[in-house]
């Protein structure tokens, strides 16, 4: 079901479709392989699904080789900033337990603000943004940790023992 209202530019997708199909074949085979030591009752379902994914991926692979598939042109933009965001988010999620919620959130929020800002920095703007961000984090901290009683991680690194 293609969009009829806004025709998008399309690019060739043979290579990417083939890559996708191969990756999915790999996942399906992996799911089959790791289901070996599961009891019959619990493995019927994942095995069936894995076989179906296998069939669909093979069909996709065939289609990418025989037909000339296209896909919508991906959204343009800075690759470096995207990768930066991914790295920051991953580090954030991984350090949550060790650095504690407050420290890792402050550091990551600051990094993300730097990453997503496209204009120049003036001291005034920096201070303003920092204040607003701190306020937002403080607000959420109060909401979650104090009002909703969520035990946020304090950070294993700071433990006294």
């Amino acid at each position: 079901m293609k969009s009829t209202t806004e025709p998008t530019q399309r690019v060739a997708a043979r290579g990417s479709d083939a890559c996708l199909a191969v990756a999915m074949l790999g996942i399906a085979l992996g799911a089959l392989w790791f289901s070996a030591d599961i009891s019959i009752m619990a493995s019927v379902f994942p095995r069936t699904i894995a076989v179906l994914v296998l069939i669909f991926s093979a069909a996709l692979l065939l289609r990418s080789l025989l037909a000339k598939p296209t896909r919508p042109r991906p959204e343009p933009g800075s690759v470096a900033r995207r990768l930066g965001l991914i790295v920051v988010l991953l580090l954030w999620s991984l350090t949550l337990k060790w650095l504690g919620f407050v420290t890792s959130s402050l550091l990551s929020a600051a990094c993300l603000a730097l990453l997503s800002h496209y204009h120049g920095w003036t001291p005034r703007r920096a201070a303003g943004y920092a204040t607003v961000l701190l306020l937002i984090i403080a607000l959420f901290y109060v909401l979650f940790a104090i009002i909703l009683n969520v035990p946020l991680p304090v950070g294993l690194l700071w433990r006294t023992q």
Binding site: P123, G128, Y129, T131, L134, N149, V154, W158
Partner: protein, 328 residues
């Protein structure tokens, strides 16, 4: 529209943030002093989702904990893996005695027998076990099975024909069915459902012939279902007319036991103190009445008697686990 005053420089704002961080750290790192424990609120983590029996019984304790100590018992949920996600992280939590976690039998003994649950039974420092929900074999009000013998006779006639629903595999219900099958020498088809609610719905909708549930299930649905037998030592005060399995000649008592544990590092003084507090809650007549009305059976297993209690349960479950093929 946004006009932000540069009153604060970046430096002071980060300092403020640091302060915020420090103050939270200081709060949690305060040393525990057994003398006036508890002098702050206690986090009570339930390793299941909200709304289940572990939650309901904890909610009942919550009220009386506050009456007794003046501090709040704050209930949190950490669901996943049938409790394993919570238990495997208990010993990483703050060991000042202000974090406790609900533990359940047979889960904490059976799960480590399987593969990689992330914790062992010995690692859990249980300090008080406060009640259990006795297993019960439940049928619809209009079921042709009037007594347990009716059901056994039907199962003997056509092995595997009688379908029985229950909550989960290798759970209290599954074990109860297994024990019942070997004691009565019958064969049924046990059908695992996700949770007691789904298991009882299957019974109410006549999808199965009977259900392995608890006295609590029968108490909640007393208008639609009746019990054939209860796996408690004595008849339950709510259901004086329902016989126990023992009376009928099947040596079967048990169910889902519930208690609490602390992280390993908590001092013995604080652990004993906690055990005393919860044992006092267990003596409160109002609490007892409410628990019994819901179908629970109260027990008192304080910290000092925990090892004996656990050893006994372990022997029972090991026998069943062998029958079920979980262990060799």
């Amino acid at each position: 529209m946004r006009q932000l005053n540069p009153l604060r420089t970046l430096a002071t704002t980060t300092a403020l943030g640091g302060l915020l961080a420090l103050s939270t750290l200081a709060g949690s790192a305060m040393a525990a002093d057994a003398g006036n424990y508890p002098d702050q609120n206690v986090q009570y983590i339930i390793p299941f989702g909200p709304g289940g029996e572990s939650d309901i019984s904890a909610r009942l304790q919550q009220q009386y904990f506050q009456e007794l100590t003046g501090q709040q018992l704050i209930i949190q949920y950490m669901a996943g893996g049938g409790g394993a996600v919570g238990w495997s992280q208990l010993n990483e939590m703050g060991d000042d005695g202000y974090t406790i976690m609900g533990t359940n039998l047979p889960h904490i003994i059976l799960k480590p027998m399987g593969k990689e649950p992330g914790f062992t039974t010995e690692e859990l420092k249980n300090f008080f076990y406060f009640h259990y929900s006795p297993d019960a074999l439940i049928v619809n009000n209009d079921s042709p099975f009037e007594t347990l013998d009716d059901l056994i006779a039907a199962a003997k006639e056509a092995p595997g024909r009688i379908t029985v629903s229950g909550s989960g595999t290798q759970s209290a219900n599954d074990i109860a069915n297994q024990r019942f099958e070997s004691l009565a020498d019958v064969k049924t088809t046990y059908i695992p459902f996700k949770g007691t609610g789904a298991a009882v719905a299957a019974l109410l909708g006549d999808q199965v012939r009977a259900e392995w549930g608890y006295t609590t299930t029968a108490a909640n649905h007393s208008d639609k279902v009746r019990m054939l037998a209860v796996a408690s030592e004595e008849r339950h005060p709510l259901f004086p007319e329902v016989p126990t399995f023992k009376e009928l000649g099947y040596d079967m008592t048990g169910g889902a036991y519930r208690g609490m544990a602390v992280p390993e590092g908590v001092s013995d003084e604080v652990t004993t103190e906690l055990s005393d507090i919860f044992s006092e809650i267990n003596q409160n007549p109002e609490f007892r009445q409410k628990m019994e009305d819901l179908g629970f059976v109260l027990i008192d297993v304080p910290y000092g008697e925990m090892d004996d209690f656990m050893d006994k349960r372990r022997q029972e479950y090991e026998q069943v686990a062998r029958d079920m093929g979980i262990i060799e």
